[in-house]
Subunit: 405 residues, 2 copies
């Protein structure tokens, strides 16, 4: 065996290998006085009380709480530069229009792949230190074939070097580049960029910013259908700035996820529920932009599985703490602590088509676990602004060590 | 010399030995390519360019940004138990009335001094890890002579063992204990508790919760005047839940600070400005309770010096991150990055009568410094939910080491 984790005061996890909706997303398994045995990077056995005799390495949690490794299903973590001046200007009362994205496009185009890797590394390691073992990262600050490939290669290199899993998403359709006509850029995306990205296996998903001032529903459909033909999973930045029917599009295409949804319609919610599409909610952005929060309760009550992410990016959300997002979801979205834990583990995994591999503590799944320096999992969203992580295990290896080890 | 800090990309500090008001709280000193020499725990010299030859220990910041150590001027960090259930209930829509304080009083009374020390230690160390070198800590969960003394002794022991400065405040007037009549408790505070606290030197300040449902202006005046006669500095929890004229009382008594001020009147603001009382604003509490934010701009424009604190406590604000409060002040209070840095350094020091000793990087002051892993100080409130601290120096000693050392 790789590792035996014992003395777990409270082992808390959702259950299953698919997104949980409705009541199920509140139904956690809670095992007291538990242990987890790990073999070959996967969970071999889970039990309570006396644990099997074992000669390998042991981690004694001394009554602390264990959850699955957190999954951040929506970030734009690879970029150059920052947007401090835009942040301060917005705080003085200027409105966010999404236009500042070109500040980051210019800086990212000017950076080398190596520079992008070095800039992103400390950001991602700070996420890992807060218990995040899997992070989705979108491209989209290149907006040209060469620059988008550079970002996706940086994500691949980060994934190979950091002790965490990165899930790459191609988001060339994040904005329109200034130097190419709109129709021509959509053609480039469909006919030139997507085929190269898919052939090189540089992305698992394709995402499109389908919103007012960005891609229309028709443009988004054309790009996403091309991506589907190439074997990529589908995601949609849907109805964030205004209602445009993007959630309905996501459901119609059987997209894996629809993200943001601040202005989703009642029809959009019903369509997502029927299609089994995961709603990825990003309340950090609403908090930062003083926008209305996404309608988490309406989505949950309609039977849509809800995941939560940071949306970490240099413009609308330079906020990289998934535990803080958990607090925000309790405080401002009216989600229960149980729904929140499911949203950042199993449902977030499902939004990345990974619910069979990660997102819960169950025999056979990857051994991605967080030991928290608390006695009960409800304390995780409660103690805010303090890093409560005591240890992190990724694929069976200790990657964040207890402070006293 | 104790330590030479060189390679500082940007040394940023307010200036002076008293609270800054008006324009002055935006006027920071910014020195590029700077060094700081430390001798005997104090700042010996500050300069730019080539630094003096030196044989002792050297910390090379490699272009990073340095600020004064942060000062958190308002916490209730010593307590037992937690209020997770109250936090979750409030998130479901139940209103905060302050009544839950007795949950913490019961748990704190049941705990020993040693238990209080062990519970508070990791909380305070997590604050230090975020750059906070001085923390005010209030008693007030004891509400009896023995229990209040137990809390103050725990604060003294923590102060002796942790590499940070704690400033103790006696706040027996935090609520009314259920087992004693109201008038009798005020008499106990004035005639029995305050004299013992003052004689044993267990507190530097006395604070009273002067608000609707808590201490009246008359009761607060009686307690604070007794504290003043015993040589304690004065603080007032003022007009948080409703306007009661507490800010006017604070100004009239020449209190060092008035805290919260969510419902301060225009007359109260003018009185604070005339009296030179520091306004300690606690936007974390407003954020958590969905209350209106304190009127920072009106206070600043009226000439009141503004400080910012966490209000870290298990009820209304289990949020312990002063850098997060800095972000909140930019985002929700309309404060500039310069005003915010002054508010968590020099003005916070002034609210503890410590502006002659700490709160700015100037020759002669204590060598309390933070090295941040950023190039410009405006990035500190911008990058949210990530710990940007690279190193912390307290009284000239490295207490948080760079990650690669």
């Amino acid at each position: 065996m790789d590792l035996l984790i014992l003395g777990i005061g409270e082992l808390v996890t959702p259950k299953g290998s698919a997104a949980q909706a409705g009541r199920a997303q509140r139904e956690l398994v809670v095992l007291r006085n538990a242990y987890v045995a790990i073999r070959g990077g996967r969970i071999a056995a889970i039990g309570q009380g006396r644990c099997p005799s074992f000669s390998g390495p042991v981690l004694d949690c001394a009554g602390r709480c264990v959850t699955p490794g957190l999954v951040d299903p929506h970030t734009h973590a690879v970029f150059a530069g920052n947007r401090v001046q835009e942040f301060l200007a917005r705080a003085r009362g200027e409105k966010y229009t999404g236009g500042g994205i070109f500040t980051t496009v210019r800086a990212t185009r000017a950076a080398s792949e190596e520079e992008l890797v070095q800039l992103a590394k400390p950001r991602l390691l700070r996420m890992l230190a807060q218990g995040v073992t899997t992070v989705e990262v979108k491209s989209g600050y290149g907006l040209s074939l060469a620059d988008e490939l550079k970002i996706l290669r940086a994500i691949r290199r980060l994934s190979e070097t950091l002790p965490m899993a990165l899930v790459p998403t191609f988001m060339g359709a994040h904005a329109f580049p200034p130097e190419v006509g709109r129709d021509e850029y959509v053609r480039l995306l469909v006919e030139e960029m997507l085929p190269v990205v898919a052939k090189d296996g540089l992305a698992r998903f394709c995402d499109v910013f389908c919103d007012r001032g960005f891609y229309t529903v028709e443009e988004a459909r054309r790009i996403l259908e091309a991506a589907r033909r190439l074997g990529l999973g589908l995601k949609v930045h849907a109805d964030e700035l205004a209602y445009v029917g993007a959630a309905e599009l996501a459901a119609d295409l059987r997209a894996t996820s629809a993200e943001h949804l601040l202005h989703v319609s009642e029809e959009g919610i019903q369509a997502l529920a029927r299609g089994g599409t995961v709603a990825v909610l990003l309340p950090g952005t609403a908090f930062l932009l003083d926008e209305p929060y996404p309608p988490a309760r309406r989505l949950i009550e309609a039977g849509v599985p809800v995941a939560l992410g940071t949306d970490f990016n240099p413009g609308s959300c330079p906020l990289a703490s998934l535990p803080f997002i958990m607090s925000l979801a309790v405080l401002k979205l009216g989600m229960t602590a149980e729904e929140v834990l499911t949203a950042v583990t199993l449902n977030a995994a499902a939004s990345l088509n990974l619910a069979q591999e990660i997102g819960s503590v169950e025999a056979g799944k990857r051994a991605d676990l967080v030991v928290w320096d608390v006695r009960a999992f409800e304390e995780i969203p409660y103690w805010m602004g303090q890093n409560l992580v005591w240890a992190v295990i990724k694929d069976g290896s200790l990657v964040i060590f207890p402070p006293d080890k």
